[in-house]
């Protein structure tokens, strides 16, 4: 039988190792510190005709750098458009006439929102809505367009 001191030591080592593993998972695997906390963010809205496969928590990037995350996605029943709430880190300010696009990382990758800064001298405030938006590229529409173009080319050749 081991002494009380030895037992305490082993349990202490176990607890330290376990908490260390949790810290490793939170900091190194989930990158908790550098991901944004909701405290220092402001929300702006953007209306899209079609958001494709955009999901809540998708990244919001500007010039390829993550500046925020998609907070929520609603449907506006009066204009029949999707309203996407963007949580932007308050360290980053964008001009009022900035535009938002839904982009895809890679051919089949996940979708994210890209913000292109405008030239206005007034910055966006919380609750503002982006005027200029570009919807997601839906692959089916693109293929349909391609087929349509091909078909009309084929028709021209026959003449």
């Amino acid at each position: 039988m081991m002494t009380r001191k030895e037992l305490d030591l082993w349990v202490g080592i176990f607890a330290v190792a376990g908490i260390g593993a949790m810290l490793f998972l939170s900091l190194k695997v989930a990158n908790l510190l550098t991901s944004f906390s909701s405290a220092d963010m402001y929300q702006i809205n953007a209306k899209f005709e079609n958001i494709g496969g955009l999901k809540v928590r998708a990244p919001v990037k500007s010039a390829g750098v993550v500046v925020g995350r998609v907070g929520d996605i609603r449907f506006d029943n009066s204009s029949f458009e999707a309203v996407v709430g963007l949580n932007i880190d308050s360290r980053f300010k964008f001009p009022k006439d900035s535009s938002a696009k839904i982009l895809t990382s890679g051919l089949l990758g996940e979708q994210y929102i890209g913000i292109t800064a405008g030239g206005d001298s007034v910055d966006l405030k919380a609750g503002d809505t982006l005027k200029l938006t570009q919807s997601a590229v839906v692959l089916e529409n693109l293929i349909g367009q391609l087929l349509y173009n091909k078909a009309s080319e084929g028709g021209d050749n026959k003449k």
Binding site: W10, F14, A21, M22, F24, L25, V29
Partner: protein, 265 residues
């Protein structure tokens, strides 16, 4: 014919009532008594520390080694599949998400049930068979507060730590195989993992899972031990039931928890 069918149905009903519902009710009352008697296991914390040693520290080796190997196998198999789609950089995402969400809590729970749960049942069952529990009662010592509650809390505290160690070790194993052995780019291995794993959605939910499994396994283990018939045969049967029941409970609870946690995705 009809009489025989009725008899069969009645026998089935009796089995369900006696073996399942009655025992479940008994187990719930037992859990309530354990919780009520847990004051002393925190006031005299060295009792619980001793059980953390037996349930947690002694399970460390099996947990760490299996975590490492599970992670390494995930690395190999995941790379084999991902490389066909030209996305071998996503290996870190695959390894870390499958470990943190599912494999960490579930496999650590199964190992914990067979390594520590069976030992708890056997110990309490033998204490009962050799009438140590009755002796305590004779001395006005509550065996639930003195024997059962520290073991319960020792298991409940150990299990999340073990699951976290399992996941961390698995991620390390995946890193060893993916980056060191196969040669996936180290930067994208970690950065894709960090972009895909969310603290609340993945790490915290995995932690909740491991906590629930810890409660379920230790609850079943202490109950089966306390409820064991006081014979050699009875203790061995109870130990087997602990492993079987808690393994099934882990898998069933995992489905329920996953359905609750990740339905919104």
């Amino acid at each position: 014919m009809t009489a025989r069918l009725l008899e069969l149905t009645r026998a089935l009903g009796a089995r369900i009532v006696n073996n399942w519902i009655w025992r479940l009710g008994f187990a719930c009352r037992f859990l309530w008594l354990t919780l009520k008697g847990s004051g002393s296991s925190f006031a005299r914390f060295h009792l619980t520390l001793r059980e953390i040693y037996f349930a947690g520290v002694l399970s460390l080796v099996i947990i760490l080694v299996s975590g490492l190997f599970v992670g390494m196998v995930l690395g190999l198999q995941g790379y084999d599949t991902l490389v066909r789609y030209g996305s071998s950089e996503a290996l870190g995402v695959l390894v870390s998400l499958s470990l943190v969400r599912e494999l960490g809590p579930v496999v650590a729970g199964l190992l914990f049930a067979s390594r520590a749960g069976s030992a708890i049942t056997a110990e309490i069952g033998l204490m009962k068979a050799t009438e140590q529990l009755s002796a305590m009662e004779m001395m006005a010592v509550d065996p639930i507060a003195r024997v059962v509650a520290p073991r319960f809390w020792g298991g409940v505290i150990s299990m999340p730590l073990l699951a976290a160690l399992f996941s961390a070790m698995g991620v390390f194993g995946g890193y060893l195989v993916g980056v060191r052995l196969i040669g996936v780019d180290e930067g994208s291995f970690w950065s894709q993992m960090q972009a895909a794993v969310d603290f609340r959605q993945d790490i915290l939910n995995g932690f909740i899972k491991s906590f629930v499994f810890g409660v379920a396994v230790t609850w079943i283990a202490v109950f089966e031990g306390y409820d064991a018939p006081p014979t050699a045969e009875g203790v061995s049967g109870a130990t087997t039931r602990t492993v079987v029941t808690s393994s099934l409970a882990i898998l069933a609870l995992d489905f329920v928890l996953t359905a609750l946690m990740f339905r919104g995705l």
